[in-house]
Structure formats: structure tokens, C-alpha cells
Symmetry: C2
């Protein structure tokens, strides 16, 4: 992998190890790719079967493509679905939905955790741990089992996963550890265990394979729009990775001359937990931590996205997009429209990006001719009875 170089997004230095934060400044370490012109062309990509991660081997830091096959289920790229009827309802007739809720774990988390598990296989790891509110844990557990690695999912008693998500973890025999507190406390337990050599951490920013897997969202959208990119791309924003990773992916394609232009990126937070939106509105780079007030869901409720928040702000501001807070009522409207107009059942976090697009269109900040893509990242099947009650309670 002589074309892969490590880079700290904090201080710009070149760290020596791919795992862990930068020793110099505590920033996130990311791989960068230098490829000779012509090494990766649109035609090369288009000639391949659209496998989820391995279609993009030159832009992923794996030694052996077999690692990805051992950690995956043969998943293919998720559809970029034209949704003209729903689009007309909200004043965006050129709306497209990126259907990551169709992945095996029922959320976009198959992308990062296939990569994380494949990397653990290459590093000889036998146990891997993640603090999770549910979707990440389910994805890690599935891919770890497939690869023959043990998964430990650390859960906070505050904001616990839905019964359906917990049942999935039990079915797959994940080792569950409960801690007092919420996701922050669970993350501290994962870090402590990693420091003590109990497991590899699958934590975003500490484990760069999370972002490397998740960036394929950007790759696929680029390819699926004929390498033009949409005008605007709406993404959910919790810890920041679901904005930063597609931005990194699109940027890599742009640098290689494969993508015509970078779309405006929009990050959507629940109004009950919107520290990145607050910083965006202040014109600030620093995140002021907030205490999440969970309402519809515990997903995306990251009160202190210390590392991912500033990176997400860089992505949103740098592309001419925005961070937006969405009230629960707007998320519910988006969920109902998805079900009624397109037959798609999404959980609240899965509909928040579409809700932000709807809000932006209604505020007159998106012209009707805009080509808009919204990531639909989590299925109603993650919490079916709660979602049914939300959609029915009109």
C-alpha cells in the first residue's frame, strides 16, 4: 500500500500508526491516497460488480481484498432511488433517496463495521468493542460473527437500544456490557478496555476504518449521479462521521479527476441535541457540549462531538452547505411522507436528512430545480412498533 499516507486532520503531521488519535495533538488520523493519473478511471470502477466496499479497493487501506470478503455478506451498492412523487410533495421534484437502510444490518453502519472487522482480521485481532446506541452495535456484531471475531457492545443504561435492536444483538451472541450513564460513559469504557489490551476499539476517529468504510456513501453517490454529484447532499449529523466520511470520499474522487464538482453538504441534527448547529450559527469552530434531550430516538444524540464536530463544520462550510436543527414534528412529517408516498419505513434518525431537505425547501433556500440527495440511513425494522405508532399518530 505504498500509495497510502497517514495524515492528522488536527496538526497536519504524518503520524506513524494508523490506529489511535494523533500523538502530537490528539486529532483524528486519516489515510490519504496518492494515485498516478490513470490508475483509477471511471471506466475501471464501472467495469466492476457494484460490491459495497471492494468496488473501491484502491481507495481503501487494506492489504488484501479477501479481508473485506471475509467480513462482509456480498452486499452491493445501495440504490440511489428517484423519488419524484415525494419530491413533488415537498417542492423538490428532482429528489433522490440514498437507501442505506437496505443494508444487512438495517442501517448504513455495515459500511464502517465491515471495514473495521476486515482491518481487525488483517491486524490479527480476535475481539473488538464498540459503544453503541444500537445500530453500530448490530452491524459490528453481524460482521464480527461472519469473520469469526468476538464483538463486545458496550451500552449505556441511558438511551438504551430498542427491544428489536437488543434482540438482534442477542441472536448474534454479542457480548453485552452495560454501564451507568449514556453513550459518553460507554465510550470511556471502550477506551479503558482498549488501553488495557482487552480488545481493539471500533470507535470513530480512534479507529480510522470507520470513516474509511463510511466514505463509500460518497463514492457511490458520485458514481450513481454519472460522476457529476448532486447539487445538495443531506446527511445525518451526530458524532460527525456521516458528514465527514462522504465528504472525504467525494473529495478523493474530485482530487483524482473522477468527480466533476463537490455538492453542497448539509448536516441535520435533532433540535433536542444540536451542538454542531449552534457552532455553525455562531460562526464558531469550537463545539460547546450540550446535554441531549432524547425525544423520538436515542440515535444521533451526541452531546459533545469533540473531534467530529469541528471536522463536520469544515465540510459543511467548505462546500457552501449548512448545519440545520430539525424539530421532532418535521422528522415525523418526513417519516410519514416516506411511508405514504414511497413505501419506505424509516426510523427517526433515518428520516432526519430528508426532514432537513424538506425544511430547507419550505424556507425557500433550495430552488425547485435543485438535484437533491438525502441519505435514508436507518430502517423502521430497527424499532417497528415505535415507528408504526409515530407514523400513525398524525
Amino acid at each position: 500500500m505504498e500509495h497510502v499516507f497517514l495524515h492528522c486532520t488536527g496538526c497536519g503531521e504524518a503520524p506513524s500508526s494508523i490506529m489511535g488519535l494523533c500523538q502530537a495533538c490528539g486529532g483524528a488520523v486519516m489515510p490519504r491516497y496518492r494515485l498516478p493519473p490513470g490508475r483509477l478511471s471511471r471506466a475501471t470502477i464501472e467495469a466492476r460488480p457494484p460490491l459495497l466496499l471492494s468496488a473501491w479497493a484502491e481507495l481503501l487501506p487494506f492489504h488484501d481484498p479477501a479481508s473485506l470478503a471475509s467480513a462482509g455478506f456480498g452486499e452491493m451498492a445501495t440504490p440511489l432511488l428517484p423519488a419524484p412523487r415525494l419530491g413533488r410533495r415537498i417542492g423538490l421534484p428532482r429528489l433522490h433517496l440514498k437507501l442505506d437502510l437496505l443494508l444487512p444490518s438495517l442501517s448504513h453502519k455495515d459500511r464502517p463495521h465491515t471495514a473495521v472487522v476486515a482491518a481487525a482480521l488483517e491486524q490479527g485481532g480476535t475481539r473488538i468493542a464498540l459503544a453503541s446506541s444500537g445500530n453500530g452495535g448490530a452491524a459490528l456484531a453481524m460482521h464480527a460473527r461472519r469473520a469469526g471475531i468476538e464483538a463486545v457492545v458496550v451500552l449505556g443504561r441511558e438511551g438504551a437500544p430498542s427491544p428489536s435492536k437488543l434482540a438482534r444483538l442477542r441472536t448474534l451472541g454479542a457480548r453485552l456490557e452495560w454501564v451507568e450513564g449514556g453513550l459518553d460513559a460507554a465510550n470511556r469504557r471502550v477506551e479503558a478496555g482498549a488501553a488495557a489490551g482487552e480488545w481493539l476499539p471500533a470507535t470513530t476517529w480512534t479507529n480510522p476504518f470507520v470513516v474509511e468504510g463510511e466514505k463509500t456513501i460518497g463514492f457511490e453517490i458520485a458514481r450513481q449521479t454519472g460522476w457529476r454529484g448532486p447539487d445538495a447532499l443531506f446527511l445525518p449529523l451526530g458524532g460527525g462521521a456521516a458528514v465527514v466520511a462522504p465528504w472525504k470520499g467525494l473529495g478523493e474522487l474530485q482530487a483524482l479527476g473522477l468527480l466533476e464538482r463537490m455538492p453542497r453538504l448539509y448536516g441535520a441534527q435533532f433540535a433536542h441535541c444540536a451542538p454542531v448547529v449552534a457552532a455553525f450559527d455562531r460562526g464558531d469552530e469550537a463545539i460547546h457540549p450540550v446535554r441531549p434531550e432524547p425525544s423520538l430516538t436515542s440515535v444521533l444524540m451526541v452531546g459533545n462531538p469533540r473531534i467530529g464536530g469541528p471536522l463536520a463544520l469544515r465540510a459543511l462550510r467548505g462546500t457552501g452547505g449548512a448545519a440545520r436543527a430539525v424539530p421532532d414534528a418535521t422528522v415525523l412529517r418526513a417519516m410519514r411522507l416516506l411511508a405514504a408516498e414511497e413505501g419506505i419505513g424509516a426510523e427517526p434518525a433515518g428520516a432526519i436528512a430528508l426532514a432537513a431537505a424538506l425544511q430547507e425547501a419550505e424556507a425557500g433556500r433550495l430552488p425547485p430545480e435543485a438535484e437533491v440527495v438525502a441519505l435514508v440511513c436507518g430502517s423502521a425494522a430497527n424499532d417497528p412498533e415505535a415507528v408504526a405508532a409515530m407514523v400513525e399518530g398524525a
Copy 2:
């Protein structure tokens, strides 16, 4: 569509209408395809994106490929996953799993109901009805919403769907009709409504698009095995369509010279409801109806597969395969092995084909060098808490 001809599987006559049973003998009407040599080659198929149904346009009876796009979510072919670790555990190291549980509705039913809804669009239908124990109803509701058609799901109070499946139907706003009795009573209600002009029926055998959609299981396996076909293909057997449809698909490819040989087909029934197995063991062509004794599930519990049973027997006997009854305990073992060895959570009906393969291997009737494919057709997410309890209750 001058290359499509109708054929009654009962009397061999050429009926005039594609919808409904044969007016002469009451048999199932199916389309047949006559294509000039070279019109459909392996290379033609391989050059296309692997979209679920539309990759096979010449072998489907639609006037306009746009109908399929209007009814679908851009789904692609499901993976044919090598499962060597699980395979070694059961003495079949060349085991592959056909992962239809990854389809949008969480079962293989997206195939038939995308086709059924696309056909309704072409016929100008605005309402379509199905008697269902859950999975078919969810698939019909999703695809009908996507296409802007109303779905009516008729449910028997005996063998009702899981809370998760019902929640999915509620989320998608399907019109639910409850009838006293089980699936047979629900089917009679659908037929009565169709006769009264209330709706189009999405019933297997009456509506030939069910089989036409479902046969793509066979098409994909042919392509994914390099056009050789496996040695043995294990399929679930309830009303018969999940055996008959892949058999029809494989036969069409064989007739066109695209598939080298027909695999042995095996149909798996729960021991608690195995009328086709009883006929197979008797060497008989007629089905003696049984009263289902539901145990693990209400899925596949068809006590009188009057039309599909004899057709399935023809497929199983004609290919040198078999119909097999599987005890609940063996299905539970298959579910546990899928979860523990491969990270795949399946509902009981989704694991029964694998359970039959396991049983066949242990009885010494499948050699270890056999290339075996088992259809995994329903996700644990259809009933997550019940599946977790089954898998844990070892």
C-alpha cells in the same frame, strides 16, 4: 411481447388470459418464452447492472421496463454467499447461502410482489389484495405504496403475523382485513373480492406474476454459479411457489442454452405441516390436505397446496431431488448455526432450507464434495424477539 405464449400447466392448452386459472381445467396458467437463438446470451446478461428483476427483461412478461422501476426500490440481485465455516460444521464445505433475507421487505417476497405491482400498473389496477401470514403482505404493501396503488392485506385470526410484521403493515398504511380462520379463509375472501371487482388478486397461481417474479431466484443462482448451477438447491416449500418458480427460471435458461444442467431441487417443509412430503413419500401425485400444527412459525403452513403441491412434486422428482420434512429442533439448529458461524439472523422459515440440507448431509445422502445452495428467505428482523428467544434457548 410476441415471444410470450400462455400455457396451462394442467391440460397443456393455450388460455386466452394471463390472469386467473385455466378456464378448461382449473390449472395454473404460466407464460412461456420463445426467443430466437442469440437473442439472449450470457454476455448480454453479464453486461447489465444486476438489478433484481429488470436484468431479465426478455424473460418477464412486461410491456414496458418502466413498470418494474415504478414498483421497485432499485434492488439488486441478492448475494450468493460462500459459507465455508458453517459448511464445514455440517459436512458440506462447498455450501453457499442465497441471501434473499436481505431484500427490502426482509424476505424473498419482494420478487413476486414487485412483479405483481408492476403488472397491476400495466393493467391500470388501483387496488390489489393478498391473503398473507405476514411476509407477502409486507412486500405487497411496500411495493404498492411505491407505485401509488392501494394494498389490501387479508389476515386470518389463526396464525396471525408477528407484532413486527403487523407494525410494518401499519407503517405503510396497508388496509387490513381480518377474517375468522386461517390462511385458507383469507384466500377465499381475496377470491370473493376479486370476483366482485373490489381488487386485483395477488394470489399465487391465480396471478401468474407471482411465479414470474419469484423465478428470478433461479436466474440469479444460475448466473452466480458461472452458469453451471450447483449440484443441489434447497428451497422452502409451503404453497409450492418457492420451488416451482426457481425451477421454471432454471428451466428457461437451460432451454435457451444458458445453463449447463438442472440442479437437484429439494423442497423443505416443517414436519408439523408436510402434505407435499407425504405425497412424495407415497410416490403419489395427489396432495392429501393436512391440518397445520403451527409450532415455530405460521409461515409456510399451507395445509392444502392444491395447485402448487403437484407442480412442486414434478419439479422435485424431475430433477432427482426430494421433498423433506424437517423437525422444529433441526430448524432451530440451523438458525443457531447461521447466527453463530456466519452472523446471519434468520426467522424459522428462512432457515428451513438450510436445515433440510443439514439433515440430508447427516443422513449420508449428500456427499461432502457437493456444491450446495440453500435459500435463506426470511430475516430475524421479521420477528426479532421471538427469534432471539429461539436462538438463545439452546
